[in-house]
């Protein structure tokens, strides 16, 4: 539906050479172009908003919001065409991305709307200059590279903003992912939840070994109840972590091994003599307390709130 009427647009591919020659006339052509776009602002903008709705892009936003954003993008677009500078547009694209990414707007939608605008404007140019084919060609020579660059700027701005958000979130997850907690004097627990990838495994080891040193731990309980499965590489890494902790003088107790992980450990042939494992976290902490010489006494008949 989109490309049925405008097969002339892609025909302008081998044009940059011409532009370099006639850059003077390009400027004046762009000026003419901008004047045309300013003149038909309302109509083109509405046409564009209609096309966006038709193509079912930006479904996360209301019609009014789409129209408001379309107006700003249109004005920024025309301004970029006029001045040939992209900073304002870039800043706007970043700002727009910041607002719409949390609402679940996808990359293809943003690229889609910019390409739609490009298409709408190109068609209005065809309509205006259809009597004068040479002039149309020259106008397109000036218009296409600038329009492409604008589309590029907006798309790149959006993707960069998205990547920045993803990086921030990864950082946050990473910081949250490996707490090393002291439960008693010289006893640490390290609850692990979720998937362990090699990077997380490395970070886990680092934090644990540092924790052993700073807390002067004798016993560490690593609880992997929340880990459904791990591959051989990570399992090996875990075993190495246990060994390294021993070199620092700490005993490691691994608790909560799922059947799948037990299978993995057996398959890679872990020497179980090197590793103490207990069924669940409670058992692990009890074993650790025994190793440290703690004795938990239950006072029969007394209520805990006493």
């Amino acid at each position: 539906m989109k490309g049925s009427k405008g097969p002339a647009a892609p025909a302008s591919a081998p044009l940059p050479a011409k532009i370099a020659i006639g850059s003077e006339s390009t400027t004046s052509l762009l000026r003419e172009l901008v004047a045309h776009l300013r003149q038909n602002r309302t109509q083109l903008r509405e046409e564009w908003a209609r096309r966006i709705t038709e193509a079912e892009l930006l479904t996360a936003m209301t019609k009014e919001e789409i129209f408001a954003e379309a107006t700003s993008v249109y004005d920024n677009y025309v301004e970029a065409l006029e001045t040939g500078t992209f900073e304002a547009l870039q800043a706007y694209a970043r700002n727009l991305s910041e607002r719409i990414i949390p609402r679940g707007v996808e990359t293809h939608e943003v690229v889609g709307i910019v390409l739609l605008l490009r298409d709408v404007l190109a068609r209005s140019l065809f309509a205006k200059y259809q009597g004068d084919f040479t002039k149309l060609n020259r106008i397109l020579d000036a218009y296409e590279p600038a329009a492409n660059r604008i589309a590029n700027t907006v798309a790149v701005g959006f993707v960069q903003e998205r990547e920045r958000i993803i990086r921030e979130q990864q950082e946050a997850i990473r910081e949250l992912s490996t707490p090393v907690l002291q439960v008693r004097e010289r006893l640490l627990i390290l609850p692990i939840i979720g998937v362990i990838d090699p990077q997380r495994a490395r970070q886990l080891t680092e934090q644990l070994l540092r924790g052993i040193r700073t807390n002067r731990a004798k016993v560490v309980v690593i609880d992997i109840t929340g880990v459904a499965a791990m591959d051989a590489t990570v399992a090996n890494h875990l075993v190495q972590t246990v060994e390294a902790s021993r070199l620092l003088g700490a005993t490691v107790i691994v608790t909560g091994l799922s059947p799948e992980i037990a299978q993995t450990l057996v398959t890679i042939g872990v020497d179980l003599g090197k590793m103490t494992t207990v069924g669940d976290l409670q058992g692990g902490i009890e074993e650790a307390e025994r190793l440290l010489g703690y004795k938990v006494v239950h006072f029969a008949g007394e209520t805990p709130e006493a």
Partner: protein, 140 residues
């Protein structure tokens, strides 16, 4: 580079102060195994806090020292291995099997004291009792 060996009650403490050559290591092994007998030491602590690299020969020598002194009646504890070094050693398969390790000198001494107490608590002849205990780690 000479490694100073201090006598501290029933224990010997050897503090490695820099990276050692293979010859230094062999010398250290001779010295320690000999002095454990001379001072009738009950325990030996090798402190490697100042060391940031241990190659395979160094690891093997430390293990040999632990097993040899064990046969001569003194339990060896290696203390002060850095966290990074520990993980590197494990990755290279140099994990000092059958050798006791502790976080630092204080922990090592506490460990040996605990061992001594439990030996005394059994009320047996101290020197001979060391022999059977070390049979638990016959990998020397």
């Amino acid at each position: 580079m000479d490694v100073p060996v201090l006598k501290q009650g029933p224990y010997l403490i050897a503090t490695v102060q820099s990276a050692l050559t293979d010859a230094d290591l062999a010398q250290l092994r001779r010295t320690l195994v000999e002095q454990v007998g001379r001072y009738r030491s009950r325990g030996l602590i090798v402190d490697v806090t100042a060391v940031d690299v241990l190659d395979s020969f160094a690891c093997r020598t430390l293990r040999d020292i632990a097993h040899m002194t064990g046969f001569r009646g003194a339990e060896t504890v290696i203390v002060g291995i850095h966290a990074d070094l520990a993980f590197a050693m494990v990755q290279l398969g140099l994990s000092l099997e059958g050798v006791t390790t502790a976080l630092d000198l204080e922990e090592g001494l506490a460990y040996l004291d605990r061992k001594q107490r439990s030996v005394k608590a059994l009320g047996s002849r101290p020197r001979q009792s060391a022999g059977p205990r070390n049979l638990l780690h016959p990998r020397g």
